[in-house]
Amino acid sequence: MSLAKRIIPCLDVDNGRVVKGVKFVDIRDAGDPVEIARRYDREGADEITFLDITATHDNRDTIVHVVEQVASEVFIPLTVGGGIRTLEDIRRMLNAGADKVGINSAAVFNPDFVREAAERFGSQCIVVAIDAKKVSLAGEPNRWEIFTHGGRKPTGIDAIEWAKKMVDYGAGEILLTSMDRDGTREGFDLPLTRAISEAVAVPVIASGGVGCLDHLADGVIEGKADAVLAASIFHFAEYTIEQAKQQMASRGIEVRL
C-alpha cells in the first residue's frame, strides 16, 4: 500500500479548443475541452492539466470559462498553465475552480513572483513548469538548460539548479518538459527527469515525448517521476487512461485503478 503514481492528461487549449502540435507546428484540432475532460475523468485520470496557448490576450477569458465548466462536474485536481503572470491571474484561475496553476516564463523573468505566489496562495497550488533542453555535446556530462518561448530561447540557466531554486522559492511541484522530446513521441528524456526528481524534495511531473504506454512506465521507473503527463496519445483515443494504468500496473507501478 502506498501513494499511487499519477497519470495526468494535458489539454493544450487554443481559443477554447483542444489542439496538439508537434513541436508547435502542425496543430491538429482535438475537440471540445469540457467533453474531453469529462471523458478523462470517467477513464480514471488522476488530475487534468490545461495549458492555455491562446496567443491573443483578448481571448484569455475562454480558458476561465472552460475551467469553470469542468470544475463544476469533474471532481479531481485541475491545473491551469499558460500565460500566468500576475497574482491576479492566479486568483482568477483558482476562483474559476483550478486547484493549481503552472508558472513558466514568468518565473524565469521574475523568480520572486513564485515566492509571492506561494506566500499568497500556498505552495500546494504553485506548480513551476520548466522547459529544459540538453546543451551538453556527445561525450560530455549531461547538462540541461532552461529555454523560453516554446523552446526557442536559451537562458543560460542550468535546469537542475533552477529546479532547486524554484522549490526554495515555494514551488509545491515541478512540471518538467523536455523540449528535445516534446511532440516527438520518442519517450521522456529519462536522464533529465531522474536528475531533477532526485535533486528536489517536491513531486516531479514528467512531460514531453510520450508516444506509447511503455514510455509512461519508463518515466516512473527509470525517470523516478511522481507523475506522468501526456497529451496526444490520449486525445485521439489511441489509448485510454485506463489502458495506461493497466500497463503501468503490469510493470509493478502502484496506480489508482
Partner: protein, 214 residues
C-alpha cells in the same frame, strides 16, 4: 430543505467544495458564509482550509470564528477538511508552534525529513496524490466507501491525536498516520473529498445525511 454552511474565512478557494457538496446532494442548500449567525443557523458545517496554520488561526481569531467553530463542535455535524482538520487539534508544530482550536486533543506534526519507501527511493514532501484510506472503525461517513479506497491528499503536516480511539482511518506514507478523526458529532479528514472523485462525493453525501451520531 436541510442546509450546510461552508465556512469562508479567506483561507483558500471554496469553489470546489461548494460544487462538490451541491453535486453530492442536490437537495441540500449549500451556503458559503463568514458570519457567526449563518454558521450557527445551518444544520451542518464544513470547515475547509489550505495554506499555513498561523494565517488560518489568525483569520479565525480575528473574525471571532474560533469560538463559533468550538460551539458548532459541541452541537451539530461538523466536517473538517485538510487544514480545517489540523486546526481542530490542540496545536501544530507549523510556524514554530501554533495554538489551535483543541476540539481533538492532540498535535499536528511535520513528516520527518528524508523519508524512504521500501525500495529506498526518497519520498516527496508534500505528500501529494492518491493514497489509500484504511478505515479503523464503523462510521456513518464510511457508508458505501470500500475499505482502502484512494483519496486525494496534499499536505506536509499530519494530525496525531492523544487518544487512539479517535482515529477513524490511517494512511501509509511510509508509516501509518491518522488521515481521519471522529469524535461524537465531529469528523475530520486530511484528504480532499471534493477532489477525490466518486468516493469523495460519497463521503460528502454521507456527511450531508449524517445526524451526528456514530
Amino acid at each position: 430543505m436541510s442546509s450546510v454552511a461552508v465556512i469562508d474565512y479567506g483561507m483558500g478557494n471554496l469553489h470546489s467544495i461548494v460544487k462538490a457538496l451541491q453535486h453530492a446532494a442536490p437537495e441540500v442548500d449549500v451556503v458559503c458564509v463568514s458570519d457567526a449567525d449563518s454558521i450557527l443557523d445551518a444544520d451542518r458545517v464544513v470547515f475547509p482550509g489550505v495554506g499555513a496554520i498561523r494565517d488560518c488561526m489568525q483569520a479565525l481569531d480575528q473574525s471571532g470564528l474560533s469560538d463559533v467553530i468550538q460551539q458548532v463542535a459541541k452541537s451539530k455535524p461538523l466536517l473538517g477538511i485538510c487544514l480545517g482538520m489540523q486546526a481542530l487539534l490542540t496545536d501544530s508544530e507549523e510556524n514554530n508552534g501554533t495554538k489551535c482550536l483543541d476540539v481533538f486533543a492532540g498535535h499536528v506534526l511535520h513528516f520527518p525529513e528524508s523519508l524512504k519507501d521500501c525500495d529506498g527511493n526518497s519520498l516527496k514532501i508534500p505528500h501529494m496524490g492518491w493514497n489509500q484510506v484504511h478505515q479503523l472503525q464503523q462510521h456513518p461517513l464510511w457508508k458505501n466507501i470500500p475499505q482502502d479506497s484512494r483519496f486525494y491528499f496534499v499536505h506536509s503536516y499530519y494530525a496525531q491525536p492523544d487518544d487512539a480511539a479517535l482515529m477513524a482511518a490511517t494512511t501509509e506514507y511510509p508509516d501509518a498516520f491518522t488521515c481521519a478523526l471522529a469524535q461524537d458529532n465531529v469528523f475530520a479528514v486530511q484528504f480532499h473529498p471534493e477532489k477525490s472523485q466518486a468516493v469523495g462525493l460519497q463521503l460528502l453525501k454521507n456527511f450531508l445525511h449524517w445526524d451526528g451520531h456514530a
